[in-house]
Symmetry: C2
Subunit: 477 residues, 2 copies
Amino acid sequence: MADKYTDFVSRGWGRDLAKRLGLPQPVRLRRYEPGAPLVPGPVLLIGTGPGADSLETALKGWDVEVLRDPGIATAAGGTHDAGGSASSSASPAAPGANAPTGGTAKLGGIVLALDSITRPEDLAGPVLAAGRALRSLAPNARVVTVSRRSSTADEPALAAARAGVEGILRSLAKELRSGATGNGILLAEGVSAEVPSALGALRFLLSGRSAFVDGQFLTVGTAKGELPADPDKPLAGKVAVVTGAARGIGAAIARTLARDGAKLVVVDVPAAGDSLAKVANEVRGTALQLDITKPDAGERILEHALSRHGAFDILVHNAGITRDKLLANMDAAKWDAVIAVNIAAQLRINDALMGSGRLPDGFRIVSVASTSGIAGNRGQTNYAASKAGVMGMVRSTAARLAATGGTANAVAPGFIETEMTAKIPFATREVARRLNSLQQGGLPLDVAEAIGFFASDAAGGISGNVLRVCGQNLVGQ
Amino acid sequence: MADKYTDFVSRGWGRDLAKRLGLPQPVRLRRYEPGAPLVPGPVLLIGTGPGADSLETALKGWDVEVLRDPGIATAAGGTHDAGGSASSSASPAAPGANAPTGGTAKLGGIVLALDSITRPEDLAGPVLAAGRALRSLAPNARVVTVSRRSSTADEPALAAARAGVEGILRSLAKELRSGATGNGILLAEGVSAEVPSALGALRFLLSGRSAFVDGQFLTVGTAKGELPADPDKPLAGKVAVVTGAARGIGAAIARTLARDGAKLVVVDVPAAGDSLAKVANEVRGTALQLDITKPDAGERILEHALSRHGAFDILVHNAGITRDKLLANMDAAKWDAVIAVNIAAQLRINDALMGSGRLPDGFRIVSVASTSGIAGNRGQTNYAASKAGVMGMVRSTAARLAATGGTANAVAPGFIETEMTAKIPFATREVARRLNSLQQGGLPLDVAEAIGFFASDAAGGISGNVLRVCGQNLVGQ
């Protein structure tokens, strides 16, 4: 398999194609391990003002070495005012380019505080400073922008500057190599860079938890949220319900939330009872066999969580099915089954829960959407309808949960290595897997980490977001 | 060139790749010709309620035969209640599939009135009816959905149903073949399907003017706007200024607006004076040699338009440059030049015009953005910053022009066949050109047609939109 792929991208047409699509050799991604450093080296912090100062304080609190002199790592072989710790002798970001030399530690990341820009012309200084440091990035490093969400209320120049960051970040993410990613944080007007969810998002994006998140933005809408006492146990004491948890991504979600301290209720259809029991046992949670399309599914989930665990803090709508057919060949049974499981059930369960008067303040809903719901996909009109529907539902539900401090968000996976994708024919799978900036499929764990972040107290100010976990998959609107 | 491409997609790995990416033989697209029928056959109108009735009335007013019985073209060889005019003996949408037989005219389009759906379950009926008719579509036919924009103010089920349409349309557009396209109209709450801009958008999307628009949505925000007296001269009597008009897309815009009845001011840098004069002569307009980055550019444009033509109704910001480099190699000169021309100049000119007090009510601004500004592009951090900036600017400017009935919109071209793209190396260009649902690059004319639509009175209720003209290019967020 690897040989065929390597042959193809090594010469002639295939080489040109690979170059155009950005398909070099994929690297093993850095993923989260409890106790490991947050980033693989010091972080270069670019930007001035209170936003940058807040970020520096937070980074240092996380035991990250912070370099603030943009003079470091400038031009080839430049001086190293910050102790030479940010330069490198190799050049992971641009192999063969004219790399700075003489330093000891490569950069673990670059953070650009852009929250005070007011005109497009303001972007040049910090962005070019970041550019000069790119050759010093360690493999699996992170670039994170912190800027403000563009709004129609902004004056045109301000709106242009803020929107411009999205073009920069998405381009830059496509230029990074060796497992490095680029993502951004968008602060709503009036929300400072030091609010818990901005710092929580920064930590998530710097960490190995966001390994397969690339070219994406998290929007922090409010100052709500709270950083965890123990960053390795951000869900300590929470009770979480995960649907479709007997296998695949659902099982990974259950394991990941349990690892992070949550008590789990794993839900799946009775036919998957054995697998479900194993997962429940593994995560020391309880199993609930349930067809989520039944009218009383919401009530049964609520009763189970409250009676068995005495609380119910997090609901992860993961259960979903595919019944692919070209629309010209689609029958009502295939269409209706997908709509019933993937969206109608989520709506009915949410209705029951939100109408019960028994949810705690700060309740979290996280739904699994799909890049197919964003970009559409041949053969998936029904699936894309359901997943686009999930995104619409999440935005609306977020508005309804805001009064009690709750949040609703969605994660949109791209190509994830599962039993389902393993059944795709070789060449199709091989192409699909590489059509993203990280040149590989993601793992169920990567989806689970993003869900864990949305479920955490640190994300209390983040609601109505749809986060793609797709390695910056090429596809889009 | 064609041989190499055909060889590649005809066997082995290449065939699988082509299948995955949807790269069969491209067809010649149907483009607008004055006097030609709006669509290449009758239109099947699916849906009930006042929205559908309004659309039927409009279609008939445009001399389009309307079929409203979804029983036509059901299942293979079914009955043909509408005179058998909607079936076909071949199957352009799904070659080799079980096609209905016996009819005489293939469908020129399918219009789905979905504006009254309230739950995701409501989608099945009309969408499956459309599916049954897909095999009867003529080459270069159109599928257009008319639905409501999903909003956080919607109840979750309503938001899910409305958002679901986007997933359906984007998937369906990827399933259509033979030059057929799928696009949608999103009505804001309280805006009916019979307002001028909804009908104007429908006409645009059905026509050959939208040949390279695929998988996209136009949002109608208000009941403003007016359908033209003569649909072949929608810009009659308007004075339009086009920047960067000496060649390429800018020249095509000038020609297209002139064809549609506008009086033209073509603007370009003095160095392009000869080419500019030729274009001005060709469109019987006037030429203005001007560096748009100069502080007085706005005033000079205004003075020229008013003094030479006595009016100024439409401004098209087309002028733009690229200075591609990986950010690691980007210098300040390349960065600054792109920002100065592509976004800062537009902002300064708009400021001068909007502050002059001399613009008429209903003034139109249309900017050329780029799919690079949406998706990012390797080597184009500066260009993507400027083009994403244009989109932010347009949304903000739209809000500011609303009080006087003006609009600001942007067109985001994908791969367009120009002198610039002709210089891309063969294999890269060949791949880039095919990476969209229409398997070909667009023409400068296609960009110009979209700009012409935004500039027209019919689009008076459409503002702050960014319309991709990209053949449903694969790339996205």
